[in-house]
Symmetry: C2
Subunit: 362 residues, 2 copies
C-alpha cells in the first residue's frame, strides 16, 4: 500500500506517529488539515511530504468556490503558501506544490472541472512516479553496495518516507531483491526515533538481517571495522552537493570518512535545489523541546530543562562518496553531476507527462 493516497475525495495516510505500536490511517479533507499532518509529522520523509502536498493541492482545487480560471489559480497559490510553510527544510514540499500549480498555469484549461481533474491526475502521477523513481534509484544504489555488506542506515527512508519502496532503504531493498546478503545497523535516530520505530519495522517485515543501535554506537562500529557503507536520504541537496538531512547525518559522515568508509546520500532529483549554491543557505527547522524531554507523555529529563532541538543538519559535499539519484549515481564534482542529473530528471518527467496525455488521447 502507499504511505499517502487519495480516496473518496480525501487525502489518506498512515499515521506514522503511532508506529509500530499502532497502525492507523488518518484522513484529511482540507489543505489546512494536510498542512497540519505535515507539521505534526503524521507523514514525514521528504518524498512522502511532497506527495501529501500534491494531493492537498488537488483538495484545494476541489474545495475552491472559484468560477473562473484566475480565481482558482489564486486559491491554488494560497494553498501552496499554506503547505510550503508547514516545514521549512525539505524542498520536495515546495517542489510538489509548484509542479501542481504549474500544470494548470501552463495549460489553457478554463473549465473548473477540467482543472480539478488535471490537478488530481498530476498528483496521482507524482505519487506513482515517486514509486517508479525510487525503484530506479534503489537499483542504481545497489550497484555500489557489495554482496555481504554491513550498512549503517540513518533515520527512516523506506516505504514510509516515500510513497512506497524508499530512497536509502530502497537501495537496501534492491540489494535484498537481487539476492545480495546485506546486514543493516539501524540507528534509532533520536529524538523522534524514526530508525527504531519505522526502519526497524520495515526491515523486520522484509526479513532483512539487522540490529538496532543507539545513535552513539555508530562510531564504535565504524572504528571496529564492522561497517562497509553509510546510507541516508536527504531533505534538500544544494547545487554543490551539500546535503540537509535528519540531525545526526553530519556526525555519521565525518566519522565514516575518518574510517575510510564510503558514504552515499540517496535522493531523487526532485530533492536537489539548484537555486542554492551551498548547504549553508538551507533553512534548518528547530522543533519543540518535548521531542527531546519526553517519550510519548513520559518525561525523561528534569521539568523545565532548556532544550535546543534542530531537526536537520548539513553534511558538506566533501564527506560524500556519491549521491544516488533515479538518473544514476552522481560523483564529485557534484556541481556538474547534479546539474546533469536534474536536467535528465526534468526531461524524463516531461516525457512521462506527454506520454500520459497521449495515453489519455489529449
Amino acid at each position: 500500500m502507499h504511505t499517502v493516497y487519495w480516496e473518496d475525495g480525501k487525502v489518506k495516510m498512515i499515521d506514522q506517529r503511532l508506529l509500530p505500536a499502532e497502525f492507523t490511517i488518518a484522513e484529511f479533507d482540507s489543505v489546512e488539515g494536510v498542512a497540519r499532518s505535515i507539521r505534526e509529522m503524521y507523514v514525514r520523509g521528504a518524498p512522502a511530504i511532497g506527495a501529501a502536498a500534491a494531493y492537498a493541492m488537488a483538495l484545494a482545487g476541489f474545495h475552491s468556490q472559484a468560477t473562473d480560471r484566475e480565481s482558482l489559480l489564486a486559491d491554488l497559490r494560497a494553498a501552496k503558501a499554506t503547505l510550503d510553510a508547514a516545514r521549512p527544510t525539505a524542498v520536495n514540499l515546495a517542489w510538489a506544490t509548484a509542479r501542481l500549480l504549474e500544470v494548470i498555469e501552463q495549460s489553457a484549461l478554463t473549465d473548473m472541472d477540467a482543472i480539478r481533474t488535471a490537478l488530481l491526475a498530476e498528483a496521482e502521477a507524482l505519487a506513482n512516479e515517486d514509486v517508479e523513481i525510487n525503484r530506479r534509484m534503489g537499483y542504481h544504489g545497489a550497484a555500489v553496495i557489495p554482496d555481504g555488506a554491513n550498512v549503517i542506515h540513518h533515520c527512516n527512508t523506506g516505504g514510509l518516507a516515500t510513497v512506497d519502496f524508499g530512497t536509502a532503504l530502497g537501495v537496501i531493498f534492491a540489494c535484498h531483491e537481487q539476492g545480495k546478503k546485506i546486514h543493516v545497523w539501524v540507528d534509532e535516530t533520536r529524538p523522534r526515533l524514526q530508525g527504531a520505530r519505522l526502519t526497524a519495522w520495515e526491515l523486520m517485515q522484509a526479513k532483512i538481517p539487522m540490529h538496532l543501535i543507539a545513535d552513539n554506537a555508530a562510531g564504535y562500529l565504524m572504528y571496529s571495522g564492522k561497517v562497509d557503507a553509510v546510507l541516508f536520504g536527504a531533505d534538500r541537496v544544494a547545487a554543490n552537493g551539500d546535503v540537509a538531512n535528519k540531525i545526526g547525518t553530519y556526525k555519521l559522515a565525518v566519522v565514516a570518512q575518518e574510517n575510510g568508509i564510503p558514504v552515499y546520500c540517496v535522493a531523487p532529483t526532485s530533492t536537489v535545489d539548484l537555486s542554492l549554491e551551498s548547504g549553508d543557505q538551507i533553512p534548518i527547522e528547530e522543533r519543540g523541546p518535548e521531542e527531546v524531554t519526553q517519550i510519548g507523555d513520559r518525561p525523561i529529563a528534569p521539568e523545565g530543562v532548556p532544550v535546543y532541538n534542530p531537526a536537520f543538519d548539513i553534511t558538506p559535499h566533501r564527506y560524500l562518496t556519491g549521491i544516488v539519484t533515479e538518473e544514476g549515481v552522481c560523483y564529485p564534482p557534484f556541481t556538474q553531476s547534479l546539474r546533469d542529473a536534474v536536467t535528465l530528471g526534468q526531461t524524463h518527467m516531461e516525457e512521462r507527462r506527454q506520454a500520459r496525455h497521449i495515453g489519455e488521447g489529449a
Copy 2:
C-alpha cells in the same frame, strides 16, 4: 551529600536509576548486594563505582567469620573477585578493591577488629580523597577553559558519577565557582540518558546555563561554530592515552577534531591503567537490549528487534588535546605524561596515608 557513603554498618547510595523523577537512598549490607548495585547501575560513574566497591570490601571484613588474618584475607580476595566482575570496563573498580586488599596485606595487623577498622578507614579515606582529587582536577581543567566558553559535555561525570563534585562536570563547576561565564550543551547520552537525567539535573541545581540536546545534534553545533570545547570523563585510560568512555565519546572527539575544537578527557590517575599499552586491550561491556528498546517499561521499537548495545567505546589518543588529572593536565606524548602523573598520584596517595597514620598517632 556524598553519592555513596557508609552509615550504620551499611553501604548507602543514591539510586540513580530513578533520577530525576525520584530521589531515594538504597542501602546494601552484603558484598553481593553492592555488586548487584554496580551491575544494575544504582551507582555508576567510574569513581563512584570505585568508592562503592571500597565500602563493600569493608563490609566483607565486618561480615567475615574468619578468626585469623589469612582466612580474613582469603575472604577479602573472594569479595574482590565478586566486585571486580560486576562491570568489566571501568578500572577504578579493581583499583579500589586492590587498594583495600593491599592496605591489609601490607600491614602487620592480626587482630580481627583492627583489620576491620583499617578497612573501613581506608574506604572512608578513598571516598574523601575522591572529592579532594576531583576539586584539584576541576581547577586544573578550568585553567584551560576560556571565559564565555560553550562546552559540550557527554554522559554524567558530576557529583553523581563520583563521591562528590565530579570529573568533567567538576571542571565546569570549577569554572562556575571562579566566576567564569560558561554554557553547557548537555547531550542526553543514549541509551541510558545519563545526560538528560543526571547532568541536566546537576547543572540546573547549580544554576549553570545549559541546553539539553539529542546526541545527534552535537555535530551540527560544532559545525555551526557554537562549541569551544568538548569535555568527558573516562572509565579506563590506557598507557598511550587511549580512552574507554561512555558510548558516543569517540564520535564526539572525531567531529571535534575535524572542526578544530579542543577535546579534554578528565579523569583521576586511578583511572589510568598503565598495564594496557593501548585502548584496544580494554574490554568493552555489552549490555541488554532493553536499554535501547524501552524507556522505563514503554517499548519504543518493534517487539523482538535484534539489538547491539555496547556501553563504551574507545577514543584513540590522537583525538585528545589533553587529559586532565588531579596532578595536572597531561599533553601528548601521553605515554610519558600519564606515567609521570600516575607516579605523582601514587606518591601523593602514600603521603596522605602516612599523614593519616600520624594524625591517628599510629
